[in-house]
């Protein structure tokens, strides 16, 4: 939700390490991170930043999973990847390695997926040095979503001819 980033970050885990010198807090073991409607499940989560300046959250797992409601009433966006980086300042989520993303029925998978949380825009790409299938991005658009797009042009013609 738009004001997710203003909410407190709640985290539960088996163990944690606070490293004051490097400015990191590492949570490990069945980690659950929640901030408003955003929820991350991972094996390990590292929060970078200290005092009140958190810059990013990195979650790793096999895979790590995320869900978040983009706008009230919308279906949650879900994502999974072996490594997720959430850049707090730019509100960008980067999925790396075995990445998959699903939004309103459309799913996308590849090796690197970038999701702009604020604009709800997603960009996908393969790994530059990958071979074969690893370089390719797969996108699945369900028929229902397709048919809605087909009708759209017809409606426009009708409305434009009206006197």
């Amino acid at each position: 939700l738009p004001d997710d980033r203003l909410q407190d970050l709640s985290i539960s885990a088996d163990s944690a390490e606070l490293d004051d010198l490097n400015g990191t807090t590492t949570y490990a073991g069945s980690v659950i991170v929640e901030q408003g409607s955003m929820k991350i499940r991972a094996e390990k989560v590292v929060i970078y930043g200290r005092k009140d300046t958190y810059s990013r959250v990195v979650a790793t797992g096999t895979p790590a999973r995320l869900s978040q409601v983009p706008k009230p009433g919308q279906e949650p966006v879900t994502a999974r990847a072996n490594r997720m980086e959430y850049q707090i300042t730019s509100e960008t989520l980067i999925l790396l390695d075995n990445a998959a993303f699903r939004q309103e029925g459309t799913s996308l998978s590849g090796n690197r997926i970038e999701y702009d949380v604020k604009k709800a825009v997603v960009r996908a790409g393969g790994k530059a040095d990958a071979e074969g299938d690893d370089r390719r991005v797969r996108m699945v658009i369900p028929p229902k979503a397709l048919s809605k797009e087909d009708e759209q042009p017809a409606d426009n013609n009708k409305s434009s001819n009206r006197p």
Partner: protein, 210 residues
């Protein structure tokens, strides 16, 4: 003049008792005759205060307490095998580069052989915010961090503190609860061992930056 001499004698006795209790390098105290059952302290100090300097003469930690009661543990042959000190309201100040850490509790025990310090009953560790330079803006809120638990074992020389009890860490940016902790004041790392639950507060003015 007599008053001064009495006063000097009193100070000398005070320092001597502190040295006797703390100087673990040589055996300053010649062991008196066989002591009665060890539960009777054979030496005590009220309002005790001591400071520990490292080899370079740098102050590493300071220690005060309302009451120190010193006991001896006798072996089968009635010879002393160990010594320990029960402490009432101990307070440690462990000196770091910029801001010292404070450690205090209601009760404590210092064991000479292992140099371990056990603290229990409202154990509190906190770090004062760094001193403000003249003219520097006061931070919006005191940036002190505080940790509380019910039991803590400390090794002051290694600057490590450990507990297997629940701990709560409060900072201006959130709160973390867990069970079991190891705090290393030297490399400024705190490990929380079980059942960690944290709330990281996102600041009002949202000044999140790199």
């Amino acid at each position: 003049m007599r008053k001064n001499r009495f006063y000097l004698l009193f100070i000398a006795m005070g320092i001597a008792s502190i040295v006797m209790l703390w100087d673990s390098s040589e055996n300053v105290i010649t062991p008196p005759k066989a002591e009665p059952a060890p539960q009777i302290p054979y030496a005590f100090a009220e309002n005790a205060a001591t400071r520990y300097f490292n080899d370079n003469g740098v102050l590493e930690y300071a220690f005060t307490a309302n009451l120190l009661e010193h006991f001896r543990v006798l072996g089968d042959n009635r010879q002393p095998v160990d010594e320990y000190t029960m402490v009432d309201h101990p307070h440690f100040t462990i000196y770091q580069e910029d801001t010292p850490w404070h450690v205090e509790s209601v009760d404590g025990k210092l064991v000479r052989s292992s140099e371990q310090i056990a603290l229990w009953d409202t154990v509190r560790i906190w770090q004062e915010p760094p001193e403000r330079l003249p003219g520097e803006e006061a931070p919006a809120y005191r940036e002190a961090s505080e940790l509380t638990t019910e039991k803590l074992d400390i090794n002051p020389v290694e600057k490590v503190a450990y507990t297997d009890e629940p701990v709560k860490i409060l900072t201006p940016y959130g709160v973390i609860n867990a069970v079991g902790m190891t705090a290393n004041f030297k490399n400024r790392k705190i490990e929380l061992h079980h059942k960690v639950h944290a709330i990281h507060r996102i600041p009002e003015d949202r000044s999140l930056n790199e």
